[in-house]
């Protein structure tokens, strides 16, 4: 006769790259209840921002997360531009789009590698990271840094794409597409991966809305919601449709991310074709005043920035709601009733980013 057992899972676990803790209430092999525990990486960015000058806070926002650093800088710049009534030059908007899609590509490829590692598929992990290096090369060539790009600024972007860089981008995109095609085929056809993901971690369409899921987790449950449809940067002028899957399980979320990689490659090509000429930076004067909410589609989902400024050199309130924070309640729901062996796969299926979550 086995009663209920409480198992601590994490914070150091081979599958999670970051400290993340689960308190699992188990009955034999089934999870009855799961309580997440975070707080190992808290840096106090929200408070730090209220003590810093608003122009420097851009670099702080960029360092909320190393994987999607560009997206945070973009969200911050877009919010302050709204507050200060700055119109960004069209070329800068297109460049932001290109770089945002590169950031999405590298983040998704990173996740694909980690997911393969969680299934115990070492060679696929290596292959995904090998393909990812093409993206890292593109990022470094065009933006000057591999991880921290510092290429966005309030009023535009800090560097321009010249002819040579565009050629480099197009050339590497072709190589990337060929390499990624192979990874995609393995992921969609391999029966072992299907065995680990199909029917695991079900989140129905109603639950996903009620529990506030965002990003690929929401789209994997059949809801076509993508913040890029709001048309920030140059997304309003490019053609794309949100990737939606209806099977509501871990497999659907995985396929959404895989297909989004192709979508990103396509969007970069479109943006390069339409890239207008002109300046990339306008001068910004004055200090921000007022309040604004900005929503941006990060690789992991919807990112919300709430900024309140009062005309002084630092912000009054800087609130970041990152996608993983929103995806925690759906994750708790998915884990209930799962087997212990599926807990790592389900946890990874929402693409947790603890650095974002704890700020």
């Amino acid at each position: 006769m086995i009663g209920k057992t409480v198992i601590p899972f994490g914070p150091q676990h081979a599958v999670f790259p970051e400290p993340f803790h689960w308190r699992l209430v188990m009955e034999e092999e089934r999870v009855l209840d799961a309580i997440p525990g975070i707080g190992y990486m808290h840096r106090g960015i929200e408070q730090l921002a209220t003590r810093m000058e608003f122009a420097k806070t851009l670099f702080l926002a960029e360092r909320v997360c190393g994987i999607c650093s560009f997206m945070h800088a973009l969200a911050y710049a877009e919010s302050l531009e709204k507050l200060m009534d700055v119109e960004v030059p069209p070329r800068a908007k297109y460049l932001r789009t290109i770089w945002a899609e590169l950031a999405r590509l590298q983040s998704h490829l990173l996740w694909i590698g980690l997911a393969a590692d969680a299934f115990g598929f070492e060679s696929l992990f290596m292959q995904a990271w090998r393909v990812r290096e093409y993206v890292m090369d593109m990022v470094e060539f065009t933006e000057g840094g591999r991880v921290m790009t510092s290429s966005v600024t309030i009023g535009g972007v800090r560097r321009d794409l010249h002819e040579e860089a565009i050629e480099f981008l197009l050339e590497n995109l072709d190589k990337l597409e060929v390499g990624f095609e192979e990874v995609y085929q393995v992921f969609t056809e391999d029966p072992l991966i299907k065995h680990r993901t199909v029917g695991v971690g079900i989140l129905s369409k109603e639950d996903s809305i009620r529990l506030g899921a965002v990003g690929p987790t929401l789209r994997g449950s059949g809801v076509a919601q993508d913040m890029r449809m709001l048309g920030y940067a140059a997304y309003g002028e490019l053609e794309f449709q949100p990737v939606v899957e209806d099977s509501c399980d871990s497999y659907a979320r995985m396929v959404v991310r895989l297909k989004e990689c192709f979508q990103s490659i396509n969007l970069i090509r479109q943006a390069i074709k339409k890239l207008p000429d002109g300046d990339v930076l306008v001068k910004v004067r004055g200090k921000p005043e007022g309040e604004v909410v900005t929503r941006i589609e990060q690789p992991r989902g919807e990112l919300l920035y709430y900024i309140k400024a009062n005309g002084t050199k630092s912000l009054e309130r800087f609130r970041i709601r990152t996608p993983t924070l929103s995806n925690l309640p759906p994750l708790m729901h998915m884990i209930k009733g799962a087997c212990l062996a599926d807990v790592p796969v389900i946890t990874l299926s929402i693409d947790t980013c603890i650095a974002c979550t704890e700020r």
């Binding site: 810093m52 420097k56 851009l58 670099f59 702080l60 360092r63 598929f121 060679s123 696929l124 292959q127 090998r130 290096e133 470094e140 060539f141 065009t142 933006e143 000057g144 840094g145 921290m148 510092s150 800090r158 560097r159 192979e182 085929q185 393995v186 056809e189 391999d190 029966p191 001068k283």
Partner: protein, 124 residues
Amino acid sequence: MFEMLNTILKNLFSGPVTRPYPAQRREPFASTRGQIKSVIENCIFCMRCQAACPANCIVVDRKEQTWSVDPYRCIVCGMCVEVCPTEAIIMNRHYRDPVKHREPIVKHQEGPIPKINPKAKGIN
């Protein structure tokens, strides 16, 4: 069952993708941000870099004519390079080497502060 096998075999015969790093160094890309370098002869001690640094790692002393940076706090954002009116700070493409003891870099300028006409660059 063996979808990965094709890729593995292809990788096996296509030669290594690994960059043989210490033996063969790849030239960094032209736009790479590696480390900041001070050209102290050009410095007019205007303090703009100190004001622009988000990590507060640059300290400029006008009286002593010293310019110092803590490279172990510098986040290589390039703001100081952008605001410098006299090109006294430049961005080098090569990354800074790992060290066993971390010490700030202090540069001292000899003689009077140069009268360089600040070029119309950066913020006024």
